[in-house]
């Protein structure tokens, strides 16, 4: 870096400023991209095809899950079903390994419940690839 008589850097100062701005913005973009990973991005799963049945214990279509995992080349999937008011703990179904890029989707769906009830359930699906 060469200074002039008054120790002003001129062109170099402008270049350094530009590099600083570029680097900080790049780092910030990486941070934003990293933060966005794992939020509700949509897994592409069809919640209705899960065929969730909670009339007598919990069950769901494991065939559809296996097919969905194969088609989308997933390493793992987790389905968490909660029935607010009736069963706040719910149940979690896990297949594969929870490693890699995660995407999560949450939806409210109608499920058949005990004694003829049809109630609202919250289904949260997380996928790893």
């Amino acid at each position: 870096m060469r200074f002039n008589r008054r120790a002003e850097t001129g062109f170099m100062e402008a270049i350094i400023s530009m590099m600083a701005v570029t680097m900080v913005l790049s780092m910030y973009l990486v941070f934003v991209a990293a933060s966005a990973t794992g939020t509700d991005g949509g897994t592409g799963i069809d919640i209705r095809m899960l065929d969730i049945d909670v009339r007598d214990g919990y069950s769901l279509s494991e065939d559809y899950i296996a097919e969905f995992m194969e088609v989308n080349e997933l390493s793992g999937i987790q389905v968490h079903v909660v029935i607010p008011f009736y069963d706040d703990d719910g149940i979690t179904f896990v297949a594969g390994i929870a490693e890699g890029l995660v995407e999560t989707e949450r939806a409210i769906t109608l499920v058949d419940y005990q004694d003829g009830r049809r109630v609202l359930a919250i289904v949260e699906v997380s996928t790893w690839r």
């Binding site: 509700d40 008011f85 609202l120």
Partner: protein, 143 residues
Amino acid sequence: MEMNRKGMIAFVDAMVFMTIMMLAISVAASGIGGQHAPADTSQLLDAIGRAEVRLSDLTYLDDDSLVHLTDVMALSAMTDTGMDAYIRSILDPMFGENGYILTYAYGDSAVTIGDESDYCTAQESRTYSVSTGGTVYITLGIS
């Protein structure tokens, strides 16, 4: 290193530019990540309309009759039945406490749950018949 006035102005200019860019990126990122599918309100209102519960589940009545959820909402609009807590237990985890507004009205009575500000990115209304007569009008907005 001594900076002259031009250098200082250039530095401040760069900082202002960087701040504006960060704000713009943040707004864009939050808009993309937080948006809900347009069909959310419609599907949810359909599900509410088709839901059936035992009357004693969500009211203080000692009656196990199977009724539509919308019937209980109509009753709840007239008298406090604890329906608010049930609705909140479903919508709060989904949209956040201030991420939605649900209003149901029966006759001259209406109940509003959630964020009462007018800002909504998606809003949908439905009218359902009540088994005891009349209709219940439900509006769901997501902010």
